[in-house]
Amino acid sequence: MSIVAEVPEGVETERIGYAWAINHALAEEMRRDPRVWMMGQDIGKMGGVFGVTRGLFEEFGAARVRDTTINETFIVGGAAGAAMTGTIPVVELQFADFGLVAGDEIFHKLAKWRYMHGGKLGLPAVVRLPTGVVGGAGAEHSQSLEAMGMHVPGLKVVLPATPADAKGLLKTAIRDPNPVLFFEHKGMYRVKGEVPTSEDYLVPFGEAAVRRRGDAATLVATGLMVPRALEAAEKLAAEGTELEVIDPRTLVPLDMETIVASVERTGRALVVHEAVRTAGAGAEIAARIQEAAFFALDAPVWRLGALDTPIPQDPDLEQLVIPSTAQIESAARELLAL
């Protein structure tokens, strides 16, 4: 039982941050394909409010790295219009929450226009959505809204939890012919990790990563909850209890096969996410686990998520809303005791 190496042996890597891994994916894809371009607020000379797009304006120029004004309906709707007409837009919203301002454009135009028009329109667009708590950003800048993407057919939903995945999943997203909501965790931008340097490093959609092998229970975690679930698993491992930690990486498509196979071995499952617990992605995952592996379960499938409350503005208080490592550890212990 051990932590699974994220990058296969023999692959050349560099140790960089999550934000820089996204930056590299953008730069590599824009070099590879002249149809790829970007727009968003302050992504040009400033390099984005979180610095993710630094240097891209200088390399690719104002025609392909476009600063917009405060106009989310255009940023996303414009991406949809551009995607139908021969280019591949990768747009940035400053905060995932602002996607709600462009709700019509995300949930109607991107998600439905191909379907409504008999499959004749292509919509290869990526919407980058800085998600989650970041320390004092407040109720309208800190949400985890990925379940909304799962609820409306036609959108792929991606949540990288490591720098390597941030690069590999974004490159796959840009090459995908479908619209992709790319929920990058803004609280993880500075997290460093080994990232393959290859320009062909792609992480496929619909393949969960088993972050840690174990036989006592299965923890399914996304985004910021992946490192917390791994820390919690470490605590239990010190006592000889090995938890399996699975990171789905993409919620649409969702790799239930890996999750179900794990639960069939462990007999117990805990789903953890930063989004509010009610009607979060965990509800869907838990439902599917019991549908597929009911007779293998030794206990109910549990969910751990944020409290059903908005995120408070205060940086200390916001941590009280989302699951902590200690809470994951304690939930896992209780589940094991059932």
Partner: protein, 326 residues
Amino acid sequence: MSTKTAQEAEGAATDEDVLALDLYREVSRIRALELLLNRYVKEHGFGGFWHPGLGQEAVQAGAVMALRREDYLFYAHRGLGYALVKGMAPEVLLGDLLGRVGGSVGGKGGGTVHFVDPELGVLGQGGTLGSNFVLGAGAATSIQILGEDRVVAVFFGDGAAARGTFHEAALQAAVWKLPIVWVCENNGWHLSAPFSAQSPTEDIADRAAAYGVPGVVVDGQDALAVRAATLDAVERARGGDGPSLVEAKTLRIRGHYEGDPQKYRDDIADGLEVPRDPLRILRERVPAAEADALDAAAAEEAEAALEKALAMPKGGPEVVTAGVWS
């Protein structure tokens, strides 16, 4: 037939007589289909809501005739004239309205217009009115990035003009000098609300000034005037000078949808009479015999198209799940 005509028309811009005849043909074709649909809905109904464009044919024909085949079109929900004049076959359009697999959306249609033909630049219509503004600006950004010679036409009504998406798209389009022509069909009605009750100014074209772009008002019943005003805007866009707004004043003759009792309205009788009928206005410019022949051909085309559309099968369960993903 019509696409060729549109291209020819551009080359023959100085020959007003030829142009008038071309426009007459298109307005007459749209009218014939409008009357046919009016009859069909009354006799048979169909799944969904038909939003008739009767009386607004000159705006649709005149503006689309100012476009080239490769130009992009985001049309509005009222009628089928836009797509017809851009070159789509009438039986395909009727197939869409009647939910037939031979329609352009392969059986996903039914009632409300969602025609599509990327080869002809026909890109669709937003169910959420006003959503075409941002889509059109995005398509125009593609054109600019790819260095293409195309223009985007975005149609909208006086109701949709109120959407915030217009402001977001217009501001960015003006700053980036995107190749867009906004064609407003001001038919005087936001569904049940008169335009005058919802606009502080008489003309939507005035709003263009806020973005530093041209905004002109044109008689929407005069196809030649609409075509000329739109062509100016198209040429400006193609030349790299950015977007413009053309507001065509027209009138909604029928209800919001066919069957709408229009109890909110006392300005018209519930008939098919078109005040300042664009066909009558164009007739003054074309020989009577030719106009008669075009009317007869248009009626024949419409009847034949309906027959072809009705012969197409309707979609089954396979249509329901097709096309979600690429």
